[in-house]
């Protein structure tokens, strides 16, 4: 299977981005420096090509009801134009993917899934599908551009692409979206993101992507806009302590363990994984996701061992030197029941136990994000 390219591939190459393979796509990992790009999003505004993300559309009389059965959060209670973050679990209550559900109406919902899981979730939906719903994979036709940072709203209000929908952008609330038509084709704007900052995500026909990207770069020049690669996308989500599938989440992990209890609505109707999750809630989770601050500047990376009073009690899922907070931080699973906010922990880094202080998540929270 060859590598896929997003509609913005040439734009990235022309700008000198370093390109890497990610989830089958050739994606920009860094344009200038991860640290610089990271802080551009924290302080100003950045653009992300996230066209690799999967868009799966469910339609039919019971579309929202079917989505409600697939995911743990309550889709039924969403208003039209509202979004929820959620996970889809298997029968064992373990995470198949974390995703966003956009509710257009009871008859139409859009699932936005991780690029690495698009095929898996599409197949899962087809397998679980009810007779009166249809499922379509729109990924190849839909481009996605994320505009993130404290100046993101100001930027969107400046560009011609959004001139007809300025009021909609001005008043759009967190985890809400609206759709409009351009040349007869649908464009979706949502107040969502993966950075911990004020931000928007725009879904649009692939053929519009280059024009919108260039409008955003030109219109945002005086705001200091920069394109941001996957490297900073990862450090931004990490600093905001948002889960990454494959690191904090996988088919061995439940949402309760991942600190995503707020996504699991046991009192709604039946859904996949419900019985297992109800049992886990009653019996307690075996492991818990937590944060660590490492003494010094060394980085605790994925799979490094976590120790408590000399005994291995868990494993790092993500770790880096947080570019904005300027600390070496790690997210890790540890056995449940160990003391929180305490000393006595260490992380083994290349054969040496480095002292680490257990701290609560999230590491970073912007006051303006929601």
């Amino acid at each position: 299977m060859g590598e896929k390219k997003t509609p913005l591939y040439n734009t990235h190459v022309e700008r000198g981005a370093k390109m890497v393979e990610f989830a089958g796509f050739k994606m920009p990992v860094v344009y200038t420096s991860i640290v610089t790009e990271h802080n551009t999003v924290r302080n100003k505004v950045g653009l992300f090509d996230v066209s690799h993300m999967g868009e799966l559309e469910i339609t039919g009389a019971r579309a929202a009801e079917f989505a409600d059965y697939i995911v743990t959060n309550n889709v039924d209670r969403l208003e039209e134009g509202q979004i929820c973050y959620t996970v889809a679990c298997n029968e064992n209550g373990k995470v198949l993917d974390d995703l966003l559900v956009y509710k257009f109406s009871d008859e139409r919902v859009l699932l936005v899934v991780n690029a690495s899981n698009t095929d898996k979730i599409y197949a899962h939906l087809l397998k679980e599908k009810w007779d009166d719903v249809d499922v379509a994979n729109r990924t190849a036709d839909v481009a996605q551009i994320a505009v993130q940072g404290p100046l993101s709203k100001e930027l969107l209000l400046k560009i011609p692409f959004c001139s007809d929908v300025a009021d909609g952008i001005e008043t759009l609330k967190y985890y809400r979206f609206f759709a409009f038509h351009k040349d007869g084709k649908e464009v979706i704007v949502s107040r969502t993101g993966y950075t911990g900052e004020l931000g928007f995500e725009i879904y649009l026909p692939a053929e519009f992507a280059v024009d919108l990207w260039n409008e955003l770069l030109a219109g945002g020049a005086e705001l200091g806009v920069e394109p941001i690669g996957l490297g900073a996308r990862d450090t931004l989500r990490f600093e905001a302590s948002l889960c990454l599938y494959g690191n904090e989440l996988d088919e061995e992990t439940s949402p309760l363990e991942a600190g995503l209890k707020w996504l699991v609505k046991l009192k709604k109707g039946d859904f996949l994984g419900r019985d297992a999750l109800a049992r886990e809630k009653e019996e307690g989770s075996k492991k818990t996701l937590t944060g660590f601050e490492i003494q010094g500047r060394q980085i605790a990376r994925h799979h490094f061992k976590v120790k408590y009073e000399g005994r291995v009690v868990g494993e790092v899922t993500s770790g880096t030197f947080a570019p904005y907070l300027k600390k070496s931080l790690a997210m890790a699973y540890v056995e449940s029941g160990l003391p929180a906010d305490a000393n006595g922990y260490a992380i083994e880094i290349r054969g040496k136990d480095i002292e680490a202080k257990r701290i609560a998540l999230p590491f970073y929270k912007s006051r303006a994000a929601d």
Binding site: G2, E3, V29, V30, S33, I34, V35, G231, T235, G296, R297, Q298, I299, R301, T320, F321, P323, S328, R350
Partner: protein, 139 residues
């Protein structure tokens, strides 16, 4: 100091020879490939090191690399400034971002290292190999 006068290893360290002292760092290319460097671990002053032994660690946001010594000898100075400000290695790999100074034990060891031009050729070869590799993957 002009990198054209330096010698280079296959692992992308450089060495500048000043009498019997070798100043050691990593190349512009290496700093760029590693990306933002956030931590460096250097050998202690006074320690004895051997040519191409791993003598330190360079940690960047996305990856970690070993530092290899281009020459054998005794470490006579370490750059404490890059320990405090590792980003200096990205900013000035050939000058302010030097790592250590070593008293050279055997000047003959320098002969196996690349000249600046040889190192540029070596980088060119590596890049074209990478491109060929990715084309193969696509098939």
């Amino acid at each position: 100091m002009d990198p054209k006068d330096y010698r280079f290893t296959k692992e992308h360290e450089w060495v500048y020879v000043d009498g019997d002292v070798a100043v050691i760092g990593i190349s512009d290319y290496a700093a760029g490939e590693l990306g933002d460097i956030v931590y460096v671990e250097l050998p202690e002053k006074g320690s004895k090191i051997k040519q191409m032994d791993p003598i330190g660690t360079i940690e960047a946001v996305k990856t970690v690399a070993d530092l290899y010594s281009p020459v054998s000898g005794e470490v006579i100075e370490v750059n404490e400034e890059i320990v405090e400000h590792p980003e200096m290695v990205n900013g000035s790999p050939y000058e302010d971002g030097w790592f250590i100074k070593v008293k050279i034990e055997d000047p003959g060891e320098l002969d196996v290292l690349f000249s600046y031009d040889e190192y540029q050729d070596y980088l060119g070869e590596q890049e074209s190999e990478e491109e060929e590799g990715s084309e193969e993957e696509e098939e």
